[in-house]
Amino acid sequence: MKSYLAVLRGSFMVGLVYRFGFLFSIAGNIIYMSITYFLWRSIYQNRETLRGLTFDQTYIYVALGSAVFILLKTYVDWQMSYEIREGTVATYLTKPIDLQFYELFMSLGFFLMSLGAITIPTILLLVFVFRIEIPLGLGLAIFPFSLILAYLLSFCFDYFIGLLCFYTESVWGLSITKEILVTVLSGALIPLPFFPDVIHKILLWLPFQAIYYTPLTMVAQPNLGWGTFLPMLAVQLFWVIALFTLTRLFYNQAIKVLRISGG
């Protein structure tokens, strides 16, 4: 465990080296939050609620979604594709470490970095500049735990795509497709209740919703209570364990096709 913490510390330091790049993401977030504000304002014109959600609930959901959007991107797929093509993966495989945990703790360094440099400033902007009232309560209290589970889940997806690079070597198409699927099906752009009923029901059975919809709903609708939140957390936990295990099994297959050319 200590060795992986050293890796986390290292990748956090790499994040610090590139801290200025992070600051630009905040500018992007401000633009995005402004656009979505006017978009949803006009959708809510002359309406109190839409599909049972008030404007405030929807906007908190969407704006917070943009605050955690970069946080929940691990970029592990791009990272691994680079490592596999360049052959640097060979230097990991000759060390007494587990590739999955190594990649996870590498990405956690960046997670902490973007939490401090992007997510928290964006949330402060939301509260003090955009004057959004984030409801205090149970939902907000368990939000951090849900967010960590969401991150682990997002990692599993990206690690899976990364492992596919052992076969395909290039990651472009795969990553873009995954990105679109996750963004749309997880409710990162639009809260799931706005989807047609049938699709909404189907999506609740898929792992995608546990990445964005679950933690964001907890903050946007904190009055739902333990009765709803506890099963939501349990579903998240279930998907984390399931996908973590499945990708571990898949690694054993993928590693067999590894070819490192040159050198």
């Binding site: 290292g10 330091m13 000759t94 070819r259 040159g262 050198g263």
Partner: protein, 340 residues
């Protein structure tokens, strides 16, 4: 029992037969047209603890593939492979603890961080205790002046400095065996000499076994008592360096750029050299790149200076270079039965 035991080791790759051009690339998308390549085709040898072995051969000979199997990255297709009594691929994490690896073309150091941070991370990864860490860091400092580089970002190091750091890093956890894959690639003469002396010192310090692959016969000459030559996945020679040394040690290649070069020039040159130095002159001639003619000379039989003088006074020569014999030429000579 020997530290590394290899018997009839094979590795096959399935490779897609790629077709030419854009339309070919499209058709390849749906093609099941694979061929099997035998990268390693039945290799056997044993390596004892403390040896420095040169594992050499031309490009694509199967050197790197063998190294990758010994380090547990690749799974052998067939045969027996044991390092310290265990099969590396099946016990990857455990075996990694007793190995150090340097791939010359890629680094294990953290590109964006100061040098010392990589060593600190490796300390945790290999669970090196503080005492051993301090002792080894002092040793590296004495050998390569590591301390001066501690706070320098790895990406700003010169290739030679980076390689010295990489080699040091691979010895940090006091491994039983270190694999050095092309450690001097792309480096100039003076830094090569430095790297060779460092490798020698590190080997002496803990009697660490070292397996070295290289293109540079100078590396092998300077470091190894034993040499294994591999080509097309098979071992051509395995034994004392002295016999091979005689083979390439005395040879030099004279590269000539001759005026008004035509196909006939080569024949004229061969004829005149035979006339001058007799039939047993130990000189072979080949045209390599455009306009360059390679004259390989066995100095035990004919002095290089004589040949050079003769050529200069009989032909119009634009440019001359003298190089040590190449790996490819050594392998060709071994094929021709030079070691029989």
């Amino acid at each position: 029992m020997s530290l590394i035991h290899i018997k009839d080791l094979t590795k096959h790759f399935k490779i897609l037969n790629r077709r030419e051009g854009l339309s070919g690339a499209f058709r390849d998308l749906f093609s099941g047209n694979y061929r099997t390549v035998e990268a390693v085709a039945g290799v056997s040898f044993d390596i004892e603890a403390g040896e420095i072995v040169g594992y050499i051969g031309p490009n694509g000979a199967g050197k790197s593939t063998t190294i990758k199997m010994m380090t547990g990255i690749l799974k052998p297709t067939g045969g027996m492979l044991q390092v310290n009594g265990l099969m590396p691929y099946d016990n990857r994490i455990r075996q990694a603890q007793i190995m150090g690896v340097v791939f010359g073309q890629r680094t294990q150091l953290w590109w964006d961080l100061p040098v010392i941070e990589s060593f600190k991370i490796l300390k945790e990864i290999y669970k090196v205790d503080q005492k051993m860490f301090d002792r080894h860091m002092d040793m590296f400092n004495e050998l390569v002046g590591l301390k001066a580089l501690y706070s320098q970002q790895v990406r700003t190091l010169s290739l030679g400095q980076r390689m010295l750091c990489d080699i040091s890093a691979s010895f940090l956890h006091n491994p039983q065996v270190v694999f050095l894959d092309e450690p001097t690639i792309g480096l100039d003469i003076s830094i090569k000499a430095k790297i060779r002396s460092v490798i020698k010192e590190l080997n002496r310090e803990h009697n660490t076994t070292i397996i070295l692959t290289t293109h540079d016969l100078g590396d092998v000459e300077a470091l190894c008592q034993r040499i294994i030559i591999i080509d097309k996945g098979k071992i051509l020679y395995d034994g004392d360096i002295k016999r091979v040394n005689a083979l390439f040690g005395a040879y030099r290649t004279l590269k000539l750029q001759i005026d008004d070069f035509t196909a006939a020039t080569l024949q004229t040159l061969t004829g005149k050299l035979t006339e001058k130095f007799g039939a047993e002159h130990g000189i072979s001639i080949a045209e390599t790149e455009e306009l360059w003619t390679d004259v390989t000379i066995d100095q035990a039989r004919t002095p290089l200076s004589d040949v050079l003088n003769f050529v200069m006074s009989n032909f119009g020569v634009d440019d001359v270079r003298i190089v040590e014999i190449s790996m490819e030429n050594v392998v060709r000579k071994v094929y021709d039965g030079a070691l029989k």
